[in-house]
Amino acid sequence: MKQFLKGTFTAAAALSVLATGVIAEDTPKQGGTLVTVLSTNVRNLNSAVQSGIVTGYPGAQLFASPLRYDEDWTPQPYLAESWNVSDDGLTVTLNLAKNAKFHDGVALTSKDVAFSVDVIKANHPFKSMFAPVESVETPDDHTAVLKLSKPHPALMLAMSGQLMSIIPQHIYGDVPIDEVKTHPRNNENTVGSGPFKLVEYKSGEHVILERFDDFFIEGRPYLDKVVMRIISDPAARAIAYENGEVHMGAFESLPRIINRLKKVDGLTVTSEGYGGIGPLDWLAMNTTKGPLADVRVRKAIAHAVDKNFIRNALMQGTTDESRTGIHPDSPFYNADVEAYELDLDKANALLDEAGFPMNGGTRFALTIDFGWPGVKPQVEYVKAALKKVGIDVTVRASADFPTWAKRMGTMDFDMSWDTVFNWGDPVIGVHRTYNSENIAKGVWSNTQGYSNSRVDELMAMAAVENDMAKRTALYAEFQQIIADELPVYHVNTLPYHTVYSDKVGNPPLGIWGTSTPIDMTYLKD
């Protein structure tokens, strides 16, 4: 009986978690100033024209989006109180909150939604998000109807978090659509409809936000003020967490610091909240030239590079394995693919078979690039690991990011360590790496020169498949082929961690992490 009761309670608790998406430990308290941290200067606060993780956090507080996501990848109402996708998948209707206002008191209407879609289409780097949206109709002030040229399931994630910030037409409409990205109100006196309004942005110092009293969700946000201090040195940030000077920070990525902070009383360090952004580390291989054009060589390399060494020794256990181009937290992730366990005999056999016999300890030479100093250990390890199977690797350093980006974008490389983000739906951040129509179109395009008509076909089908089960199956096959043909050897997730003090109630740990409104976050006494 006791056991039964316990089970029931657990189920009830689980249900309430599902219903609210929040673990209700105790009742949220109103008020207080939450001090958080940003690791670099914000280029632009307007998340409709500036993507990226730095803008995501302030952007999601200033601007509201139609939908939001919690931990379980199910869309939740936000600016859109409800929504409907037509049976043919070509019409998406959003019913907007009727009391939504911008921070200057002007009501938010469907016209602003239509305007924002235009601005995003013209300025945002992720063209695939709204490419199928042909027009946005506005039958009345609180209904926006998105007309699509084809079914577009990726739209759901693209309408959430920082990806679809609704910006006020009455402020940004005074310049041509494609000049909104340099609008003076992007950094000063910025006005949105999110839970917090801008008090001050001082470059290099801080972003200060305060509670928007007319926020469209009654009783929220809980915090009076949110301070985002800009502290670029990771060691200084770590001390600030330990000291209690800063309550919360995200995107901490140095394994040494993560592991140190994990031991500090009063702090929680978690890798939850990064599934949406989906950051992955991988070994990219140029499939168009030299020995790497042979898939057996690429497989041999995968067998010779020990993922476990990278994850356990170099990353000190702070990352998860990722076997495919889709982040392991994503519902589309398929772990049932070739894992390429360390096997030097197999690697040697594959290289022999590919026609590269061992000749005085060496078979052939390759180069490896890296874009930023943080991944140098991985690159040096790859060099050492491949020496064991007779591949002589030269590490090519780049002076800075643009130097490396140029090499990647023009496919002037053999191998490179690369870090690429999923950005929600695979259509947004995954397809670009494998699509044969996207070869060598700048950094983070298909820089591997990979081309497979079946892969192209699977991506095209999955992009328009509204049935979740069918879509998952298409991506499962896609991941199998990619793992088999290895244009990229997927190694691990990025060790991004969120650090927060015990004083913080309900930290943002949904799929978009801190790139979501923190209207439910509060400070305990």
Binding site: N44, P402, T403, S445
Partner: protein, 325 residues
Amino acid sequence: MQFLQTTLIRIFYAIVLLVAVLVLNFSLMHLAPGDVADTISQSMGGADQELLDRIRSDYGLDQPFLVQLGRYIAGVLQFDLGFSFFYNQPVTKLIMERLPATLLLVVTAQLLALFLGVFLGVISARKPNGLTSHFVTFMALFGYAAPVFWTGILLLIGFSLHLHWFPVAGMRDVTISGGFWVHFVDVLRHLILPMITLASIFLALYSRLARATMMEVLGSDYVRTAKSKGLSQRQVVYKHALKNSLSPVITLAGLQFSAVISGAVLVETVFSWPGLGTLAFQSIIARDTPTILGILFFSALVVIVGNLLTDIALRLVDPRLRGRS
């Protein structure tokens, strides 16, 4: 009159130097592969070719090199340092927001290093082989040899993490409110660690030089005269000898002023001090040419002004220079 002429000549040289600095750096920045469009796309998590091309045409990066250079120099001659590609703000505004913080740090650190350096130098010169002298020399050399970021982090661990005396980063605590003095004390608390860190590099130079010149001066005839007059050791050292031993130290301080500014880049980065140093660092990483050149321009100005001030200070302590140009 002659003084005015030399000053004018120096200002002319300074302008020539400034233009040379700008042209040289513009060319160097241009030689490196890739450009700010790449870092903008990095900050956005990627961009397609179309967007990259548009960013390049928006900022005129698709123009030939000489056209870009000509436009830039023409702008600077009209006192327009241009528009930051990366931060979408006028460079002058970006720099002006940061300049006060850097000046505060650099000037206080320089003064601290100078006064403390001279003081320690004098103490150790009085008993060159005493224990104090060795200790001062050791500490000074230690500060000089230790990397700035290491000293900074050590101070942070000691005084911020364990003792809780000073805050970790930034220049002010935005959560406090109060009058002028509350904020004054707040900025001071934030200033102390970065100031000490930056001063520690230059302390060695000044104290070593002050020690050497002081020892030389203490051996000279007029000091012996002063002593035989029956003046106390204290009076001899601080009234007679010190003034004469100062001019080499001040000259060195003037020369070191540019080094202090470059030292500030690292110190500001460690302590997230919102000055030109952090901006310079971020702009270089971002390949934001107008901002980098703007910062170089302003740093050069600050160095020139610093050198002029040094000249004036030298004339104040050394009457022999006053009559000369």
